[in-house]
Amino acid sequence: MNKQYILGIETSCDETAAAVIKNGTEIVSNVVASQIETHKRFGGVVPEIASRHHVEQITIVIEEAMKKAGLDFSQLTGVAVTAGPGLVGALLIGVEAAKSIAFAHSLPLIPVHHIAGHIYANRLITEMQFPLLSLVVSGGHTELIYMEEHGHFEVIGETRDDAAGEAYDKVARVLNCPYPGGPHIDRMASEGEATIDFPRAWLEEGSYDFSFSGLKSAVINTVHNAQQRGETIVPENLAASFQESVVEVLVEKTIRAAKEYGVKQILLAGGVAANNGLRTELQKAVENLEGIELVIPPLKLCTDNAAMIAAAGSVFYEKGIRADYTLNANPGLDLESFSIK
């Protein structure tokens, strides 16, 4: 078999990233330029600033990925890029750069859905076994995705309001944690006890959808009420109570879906997959299930990166998916519209 090298490019939010993946599973290079420090003082990602940074970083990051891979553009099989969803101005930089490289070197251009990328980060750890279920949890997404085969995506559950990561960020802000707050809440939760009984949004019976806005409001109200009454709340206990509510719903629905769909693998994906509370509870729950393997990528592959985009791009390339030079950034790109089946 000829070696397949895919260059991946990812600029959907605040990381400018490029990577080269060999044969869909092997990381040859993986470069990420994070803007977290820049956005910190604003307490969150400012889209216009993110776009400005991407323009300044894009060719530097791609060059580093190519240099580390020790490859020339003529040795590439194709260029894969995140076409959406994400911040439109940020996505555009990656899309224009990818199109320019594809054009300059007459390479196939492969559009990749950001969430498909997060799922395929797992293929860089171990081969996928179908059918599988993926729990995608990040600052912008909370979804349960069922896959029968490569390139097939069925969204069986998704958040109806805030993403889990978004709720983490907002709770972190109430507790005056620096941005990004998720890791702080996770750490505090490990030091505290779940003493407050926050609501769990199970929604209708049998639903795999999620909802975190009610929980978020409950946390904020608890803090405000305590402030008004002059009571002190132990922040670690609040964090632990909040995290317990989020994790319990995520884990319970994932396990239920895994059983119902009879999957062989559960893949955890997205930035919140770095959360220790979630990793631990999911591991515990899967241990009780026979014949189901749990795959959790290392931290570096959970947060936004281009290795995952190239990994997904590799599969899409084999399936014959191509874009032409009219490819545009699509902030609301639908995953199922990407599905092969």
Partner: protein, 231 residues
């Protein structure tokens, strides 16, 4: 040497090809449509139509601002990525200077106008001397009214160029009276061939460092600076 010129700073999408001194291809539209889906297809089409292979491109010139933030980033990202990956020099030319080039035969001052909302404009002041386009006052974000009074001090005819000058026609005419003159629509759309010529003799810039001249901080940065009294 063949030069590829790209302008996406306003609603005008312009791609031009210059061969030595000669403009051999130009593609211009002046419509409100997404530049992202169109710039590379246009470059591809125009090169093919002119019988030029991309490997023959020897230099890339991009109108690098001011202008629409997103529009600028599209042209700049394509320009810098192509220049870097094809290993050719890239140069930036002011988008306002490019617009001012329409006033070549105007015996006076030239003020290209881009609307910046709330009575403001992006503009500079230019003048042709011995067939060479000279900068008189730098490109800046200004109040249209204050700019009108500033121009009045020159006591000379001023040609306003660009579709957006119509938005401020009344302001400028009230202040400058007969000295305010307005270019016709055919001269309001910047010529990408002219962009290639303006950049032809400029030294190449480092592609990695090439970025738009927005001429304005983002709102978030301006607000943060005000709140933190950063000077």
């Amino acid at each position: 040497m063949k030069i590829l010129a790209i302008d996406t700073s306003t609603n005008v999408l312009g791609v031009g090809i210059v061969n030595h001194e000669k403009v051999i291809g130009e593609y211009i539209t002046n419509i409100k449509r997404n530049h992202s889906t169109r710039v590379l297809p246009v470059i591809d089409f125009l090169l093919k139509d002119c019988g030029i292979d991309k490997s023959e491109i020897g230099k890339i010139v991009v109108a690098n601002g001011p202008g629409s933030y997103t529009g600028l980033r599209i042209g700049v990202t394509i320009g810098k990525t192509l220049a870097w990956t094809l290993k050719v020099p890239i140069v930036g030319v002011s988008s306002l200077k490019l617009m001012a080039a329409s006033g070549r035969y105007f015996p006076g001052l030239i003020s290209p106008i881009m609307d910046a909302r709330r009575g403001n404009v992006f503009t500079g002041l230019y003048k042709y001397e011995d067939q060479k386009l000279m900068l008189v006052e730098e490109d800046k974000h200004r109040s249209a009214e204050e700019w009108g009074y500033r121009l009045k001090e020159y006591n000379q005819p001023v040609l306003f160029v660009g579709d957006d000058s119509n938005i401020h026609k009344e302001t400028f005419t009230n202040i400058l009276l007969n000295n305010a003159q307005f270019a016709p629509s055919s001269l309001n759309t910047a010529k990408p061939g002219e962009l290639g010529l303006l950049g032809k003799d400029l030294d190449g810039e480092e592609a990695h460092l090439f970025k738009p001249n927005y001429l304005r901080l983002t709102e978030a940065e301006a607000k943060w600076r005000d709140e933190n009294r950063e000077v």
